[in-house]
Amino acid sequence: MTLEPKAVSATGIRSLWSWLLAFAAIWLLHFFAVDALDPYFFMILMYSGINIILAVSLNLVNGFTGQFSIGHAGFMSVGGYVAAFLTTSLRDAHPEWMTDSVLSTGIFLLSTWIGGLAACAVGYVVGLPSLRLKGDYLAIVTLGFGEIIRVVLLNIDAVGGARGMPNIPPLTTFGWVYSGVLLTVFMVWRVVTSGGGRELLAVREDEIAAEATGVNSTSAKVRAFVLGSFFAGVAGALFAHYLRYLNPATFDFNRSFEIVIMVVLGGMGSITGSIIAAVFLTGVREALRPLQELTRVDFRMVIYSLMLILLMLTRPRGLFGTRELVDFLPRALRERLLGGKKRSKPEVAT
């Protein structure tokens, strides 16, 4: 296995302008289009956005760095609980602040940021010891961590314990969810196409060889893990202020596992793959509901798990592998998008 790193240019998708344009488009949609949407479809759209953030950030760990974390829901819960606790306590102390749209948005953004940082900190504490180890231990440690955080939340009365945290202010809007999506995708994209990102890929391909060429593999893994945790925390905060109710049971192993499926289905190491898989699976889950109305039995998890096994047996790298969506476009279009005859990411020759 060899790596063929290619130079990075600053045109096309990589130019800041295209990202700013996307940002403007999101807010245009937010103010002029989404109100007309059917509430159910809108809800799916919102969950899709939150799932994209989760999937893309987990892909940084599981896809690009080649580690296997199955505790992403744990970090999500840290971010969600911290942010929701901040906004609800501020709301209870100063109810008038929430009526002011500018002020409440400011509080929301600040809490989301703090929630993300809290998840980040927890990610560091969990990641540092477990990422030093080789092999599959990270999987079981992250899984265990997810359980620990759930048990801890059950024991904190300030956030309701098992009774949950109701009546969280409804501050999450379409604009903020998709701004979060954009930020996540932008950051992850920048990271994996940077020099530091090459280190991550090197660790994934062969940790020993990477170490031999001077990459500090533990530090690289921890960086990826901490950044992934941050965005999981942000997603948790968005989720909390959208559903308006938090309960430790929401962030169980199955939730982590759903995110893993999204990453695996889309392709470990493909950002666009994760995006499409996140949207697809969120949609499919709802599309399968009529089946459930007919059979009265919920086959969804059985289908998910079978799909995962079959995927691993037939297309182990996921649907997209390490490729991005642009790699499937006709060459002329791709070159225009990317601004030059470059691939979006170094392709791994196998």
Partner: protein, 398 residues
């Protein structure tokens, strides 16, 4: 080249499937255009069926509770339809699974309201899911009736949210008073299920009343739903020599707790709440359940025709004895249909008024009145477990 072609195809198929799933969602748009007028007019009331939604945990770790409730609701729908329906219209029940997750419950409620155009929603069993659903029902001004969410906060989330069960403070009081006055015990240990909002709530209110009445909580231990070994907790409890143990959990664990308590030589009475009411309790607990008391909505020994007919019909339909959750689901559906029959029209607002005016409704789980906080006010009974039978002890009025 070949490989590229395959990849392109896969990508295209994936995109296509996504587009389809989006289209499917759009296609199933509300059947009539009156969804957005804010008055919450039941959207399909004009047809010859009334659609009722149900959200429950049919799979996942709490599936057994959702399934029990579903059976009760299904039976009520069957009976009402056999009797000609409500206002001459048949009831169509649409049941969705939430896998025991609050966010899934919220999505399911949104789908029922906006896609299926239901006039009202029945559910959820657990307060945690009800609290995620309630803001949605409230925003769309659609009636939501929970059969068994006992957390007081549930109905505080909106004036379209009702329940037909009593709330934790009342039930906790019932058992605390019974322990003090009838069992004449002063030292009680608590063994609560920390994973379960219902159990935690009940334990808190029990402790409050019990202490106020001069009793003492000698030790407050806990377990998590799904555990099978409780000996360490019970050993710690045994060391404090209580005169009774309050175990406000579900029947899924209580049977094992009783067995292990007796194995450890703890012979004092166990006490619990309506979560105990299930034939499984007697099966799993066996003889160990003897000398235990629990508060419940009704007694199956009650000779009133409502209760007896419910039990007979339930046995005929499902070939099993109904548990407490089935009875609560049955009553929730029946009370909703009753209110729909009495309402001025099938507009949500009118159903809401009719529901709020429910008084002395002869349900399986007791004579039910809805108070101004949209909670059910009804009496509780205390049952004693004796050789595999639930024996009626006393009735406690609110």
């Amino acid at each position: 080249m070949m490989k590229n072609a395959i990849r392109n195809t896969v990508g295209a198929v994936l995109l296509g499937a996504f587009a389809l799933s989006g289209a499917a969602c759009k296609k199933a748009a509300p059947p009539s255009g009156s969804a957005g007028d804010g008055q919450g007019v039941a959207q399909t009331a004009s047809g010859d069926v009334i659609r009722i939604g149900e959200v429950g945990s049919m799979t996942g770790s709490e599936a057994t509770f959702g399934t029990s409730t579903h059976k009760g609701i299904e039976l009520a729908v069957k009976q009402v339809n056999a009797a000609g329906g409500v206002r001459g219209k048949k009831i169509e029940l649409i049941s969705l699974d939430d896998q025991g997750k609050p966010d899934e419950a919220a999505t399911a409620a949104t789908k029922l309201i906006t896609q299926n155009g239901v006039s009202a929603i029945l559910g959820e069993v657990a307060s945690s899911r009800s609290m995620a659903m309630a803001p949605i029902a409230q925003n769309h001004k659609v009636i939501m009736v929970s059969p068994s969410s006992t957390n007081p906060k549930v109905t505080e989330l909106g004036d379209y949210v009702f329940r037909v069960c009593f709330i934790d403070p009342f039930q906790g009081t019932v058992m605390a008073k019974y322990a003090l006055d009838n069992l004449k015990i002063k030292k009680v240990a608590i063994l609560r299920d920390v994973k379960n909002d219902y159990s935690v709530g009940l334990a808190n209110f029990f402790a409050e009343t019990f202490k106020k009445g001069g009793g003492e909580i000698v030790i407050d231990q806990s377990y998590s739903a799904g555990d099978i070994d409780f000996k360490s907790q019970l050993t710690a409890i045994r060391a404090k020599a209580p005169e009774g143990i309050f175990v406000p959990g579900y029947y899924t664990e209580v049977g094992l707790i009783a067995r292990q308590a007796r194995e450890l030589g703890v012979k004092v009475p166990l006490m619990g709440g309506d979560g105990w009411d299930s034939p499984k309790l007697k099966e799993i607990g066996g003889e160990a359940m003897n000398n235990s008391y629990f508060s419940n909505h009704y007694s199956s020994e009650d000779k009133s025709p409502v209760v007896q007919e419910f039990i007979t019909q339930f046995k005929a339909a499902y070939n099993e004895v109904p548990d407490g959750l089935s009875a609560a689901g049955y009553d929730a559906a029946k009370i909703l249909f009753d209110a729909m029959g009495r309402a001025k029209s099938l507009a949500s607002n009118d159903i809401r008024e009719a529901l709020a005016a429910t008084k002395d409704y002869p349900g399986v789980t007791g004579k039910i009145m809805i108070d101004e906080k949209r909670n059910a006010v009804k009496s509780a009974v205390v049952l004693k477990v004796e050789n595999g039978e639930f024996r009626y002890q006393t009735t406690v009025n609110p």
